[in-house]
């Protein structure tokens, strides 16, 4: 299982070494990356070429599916609502919404005059169909579990949709912002996977699963025409091949690719290409399996947290490109974020181990080349833990079976998610007892009750307080550590302007190319 040196890290190392030599030779400072991509006036029109890693040849344009071709979705579809930068729910196809007194009935009013790409008008029936499709057990949508509280959906009139919920949920609209919730036309389940007929700013031109495809600007998009004329998508599986495509100017942007630090230096220092930052886009976690013998005891988990300083992990593993996590899974940009820095005290961690009779505690921490920063984070964490007398052996696993064999199976490993889940979904999906995404298998009745109480609370301020109390519980008692939120380092051409991405939101409308 343990691999010696894989080709990718060797290559990255070689590239990084070359870059470092180059830097040393001209005495240049360390990697500095612009905080935000270039903004400015784009020339009208143009074709942007985007390289992406395709999931597999089984990918589909059906947004509800777990095998959806992610990059296309935001270009060709709209949702009822979407998230803004602070994690607040804002209008997309719906203009406004209202709820009854106990937050069990929600009415969404849709924009009028919106048309699908085939000319049909968008109505409430399409929205109803979209969510029935997501909840269809045969589709096995990843969002079905989160939305299972929906009891019934009615198209009240052409522009009003009514959701009845089985349990109160004052945060319900935020659950409709997931990227599985893009609205598709009524009765299109059998064809949507290849036709991609939506209401979005771009119309599908061509599409091959795990191959190339293109979209063109939707001339009568309700929110104005897109800046670009056309976007071409290309699948490139190998990360270094994707970077080569950018460096040789065959593509303009690498999507879903977090460049490791040495590669980012090469891209930033090459002629015509640059690196943009998506702040805190990668949420790194170290789940301690609460059902394992090692970490069943909350006191043991506390020692594992006290033992390390997230700032040190950030500085060494990510060279500072991110934010220390302090074991709070909620990213700091969300308005529901709780400002709470737990203690860092390796001596106390050592004392706890002694109290538990585990002075010479040793176990494996599993990592993989699945994501470029996993091993750096595992190494940095292990170095910190060593100061409290915890001996962690770093174990490298095969990338292709990391999430099927190691994840949720081994006591200690490094994992990650994209940030972008609204706070209610984040806490319920990944930390609630029994959720299928609960990667640390943590179960705390008090936490579950807090989430229920928050959902039933229709007063904004007190509801937020409850979500913050829930965060405190995750930090103090939870079984998952959040050492850092990493910035995503995105490689792009210097010709690209107005690239804007956060969470699962990507601004395809303003994205453009500079003059010339």
């Amino acid at each position: 299982m343990t691999s010696a040196i894989d080709r990718r890290s060797l290559l990255a190392g070689a590239l990084g070494g070359a870059a470092a030599l180059g830097l040393a030779a001209c005495g240049a400072p360390a990697l500095s990356v612009p905080d935000r991509a270039a903004t400015g006036t784009a020339r009208g029109g143009g074709t942007m070429r985007i390289a992406r890693p395709a999931a597999s040849a089984a990918e589909t344009l059906d947004p509800a599916s777990s095998l959806s071709a992610y990059e296309y979705l935001g270009a060709i579809y709209n949702r009822v609502v979407r998230l803004d930068r602070n994690g607040e729910t804002v209008p997309d196809l719906a203009t406004d919404w209202s709820l009854n007194a106990d937050a069990t009935v929600w009415d969404f009013r849709l924009r009028s005059g919106v048309r699908f790409h085939d000319g049909r008008a968008l109505t409430a029936r399409d929205v109803r169909y979209t969510f029935q499709h997501i909840l269809d057990p045969e589709v096995a949508s990843p969002q079905a579990g989160t939305l299972s509280l929906i009891e019934s959906i009615d198209a009240v009139d052409p522009t009003t949709v009514r959701f009845r919920l089985s349990t109160p949920n004052a945060e319900f609209p935020s659950l409709l912002t997931a990227y599985q919730c893009y609205v598709i036309p009524e009765d299109s389940a059998d064809t949507i996977g290849s036709t991609g007929i939506g209401t979005g700013p771009f119309v599908l031109d061509s599409y091959t699963p795990a191959g190339a495809g293109a979209v063109r600007a939707n001339e009568d998009y309700f929110d104005g025409r897109a800046t670009l004329d056309r976007i071409e998508f290309f699948s490139i599986q190998d990360t270094s091949a994707r970077v080569n495509a950018l460096l040789s100017r065959q593509v303009d942007l690498l999507s879903q690719t977090n460049l490791d630090n040495p590669t980012a230096r090469v891209v930033a220092n090459s002629l015509g290409t640059t690196v943009a930052t998506v702040p805190n886009a990668q949420w790194y976690t170290i789940p301690m399996l609460a059902t394992s013998e090692e970490f069943a005891d909350p006191l043991m988990r506390r020692a594992m947290k006290l033992a390390y300083d997230p700032q040190a992990v950030l500085a060494t593993a990510l060279q500072g490109t991110g934010t220390p996590g302090w074991d709070n899974p909620v990213p700091p940009q969300l308005s529901a974020f709780l400002e709470y820095e737990r203690e860092y005290d390796p001596d106390q961690a050592r004392a706890i181990l002694k109290q538990l009779g585990r002075e010479d505690f040793t176990t494996r921490i599993h990592t993989s080349a699945y994501e470029p920063n996993f091993t750096a984070i595992a190494t940095a964490y292990a170095a910190q833990a060593a100061q409290a007398g915890i001996d962690l052996r770093i174990t490298n696993e095969a990338a292709d079976s990391y999430y099927t064999q190691i994840w949720m199976a081994r006591p200690l490993m490094v994992s990650y998610w994209f940030t972008g889940r609204p706070v209610d979904q984040l806490l319920n999906q990944i930390f609630r007892s029994g959720s299928s995404y609960n990667e640390s298998a943590w179960s705390n009745p008090q936490f579950d009750q807090l989430l229920d109480a928050a959902r039933a609370d229709t007063t904004e301020a007190t509801r937020r307080q409850k979500y913050q109390d829930a965060q405190r519980l995750v930090i103090d008692d939870g079984a998952a550590m959040t050492p850092v939120f990493g910035d995503r380092l995105v490689g792009l051409s210097e010709d690209v302007v107005n690239y804007d991405e956060y969470g699962f939101e990507f601004d395809y409308l303003a994205l453009g190319l500079t003059e010339g």
Binding site: P142, A210, A241, N244, A398, S401, T404
Partner: protein, 335 residues
């Protein structure tokens, strides 16, 4: 000679069966099945169960293997578990793309290497010889993905003459692929050349010291003519197996090189199928690769027979002698 071919063909069928058997059960032994691999982090128990059901993965392993064999004998290699397309068309497309790199690499690479081998052999001990030999050794010891990366850095990024990657994947037309063929083919030539050069060099050196070469030289045949007419044709024979192994290696699609160039050939298809556990595609690739190895080796042996009359006569004499040498048990039985 006909009997030899028949025996070789029979062994080939056994080889193919063994290859398919080992690949099938090796993939079974890999952790995770196609359903889990495709779903990854979204592999909730319900989703995995639904996908397994659709793909009919719960049938008995042996039953699935026997079904596969039965269908394969009728030329039906099934459909990909991932894309749902016919395996034969996927694999043929990829194989034809790989040929597009392999054929130029073979033609250019083999010709060049043989020439350089003869040249260095004929000039043993000179600066040309040691220079080229060292170069060949260096090329041999650099892994091909490093060669590929260096070629991309110089000829695609620094001086953008050739494309660094193929953008259109399996949909790429021959027109799209032609400019993209140059760098991978060059990489393969560099990776392969050293073996052929070294074999050809020592074979030429041996050839030049034979009695017939000396006789020809003493007879007054010019040195150049001795080399090209008398030595070179015979000296190629021992190099044929080296060439055939390299040709088979190239036809099988070179995984790492194709992946660096995002080249939609057999190697790339193989990586994808392994990481997705797409068994039908992998099986077809295994059978095809085994077939290529068997055929290329057979062709090399036949070529040697054609080029070297000694091998033919050896065979015949051996066969003729057999009945004479064998004891005749019938006569010893008392009547």
């Amino acid at each position: 000679m006909l009997r030899m071919i028949a025996v070789r063909l029979a062994t080939s069928v056994v080889t193919l069966l063994l290859a398919s058997f080992f690949v099938f059960f090796a993939v079974q032994a890999l952790p995770g099945d196609v359903a889990e691999q495709l779903l990854g982090q979204n592999a909730t128990p319900e989703a995995v169960a639904a996908l397994r059901d659709t793909l009919d993965l719960d049938t008995n392993v042996w039953a699935r293997y026997l079904n596969w064999i039965a269908a394969a004998f009728t030329g039906d290699f099934g459909t990909s578990l991932v894309s749902g397309e016919a395996v034969s068309s996927i694999v043929w497309t990829a194989f034809s793309h790989s040929l597009l790199i392999a054929v130029p690499a073979i033609v250019v690479g083999i010709t060049l290497s043989l020439l350089i081998g003869i040249l260095t052999g004929a000039r043993r001990g000179t600066a040309t010889d040691s220079g080229l030999s060292v170069l060949a050794l260096v090329a041999m010891s650099i892994p091909e993905f490093v060669v590929a990366t260096v070629l991309v850095l110089t000829l695609a990024i620094a001086i953008p003459v050739f494309p660094a990657v193929v953008l259109r994947g399996p949909d790429a037309t021959v027109g799209d692929l032609l400019p993209a063929v140059v760098l991978p083919a060059a990489t393969l030539v560099i990776a392969m050349a050293a073996y052929v050069i070294r074999a050809m060099r020592s074979s030429t050196v041996d050839g030049l010291t034979t009695e017939y070469a000396t006789t020809a030289a003493l007879k007054g045949v010019p040195r150049r003519r001795v080399l090209w007419r008398h030595v070179a044709p015979t000296a190629v024979l021992p190099v044929l197996p080296v060439i055939s192994i390299n040709v088979a290696w190239l036809f099988g699609g070179v995984v790492v090189v194709e992946s660096v160039f995002n080249y939609p050939g057999l190697g790339t298809l193989m990586i994808e199928s392994v990481s997705n556990r797409d068994l039908p595609v992998l099986q077809a690739i295994a059978v095809l690769s085994a077939l290529v190895y068997v055929t290329v080796n057979l062709v090399a042996d036949l070529l040697a027979l054609v080029a070297d009359p000694r091998q033919r006569t050896l065979h015949q004499r051996h066969r003729r002698r057999t009945p004479a040498q064998a004891p005749a048990p019938a006569q010893e039985v008392p009547r």
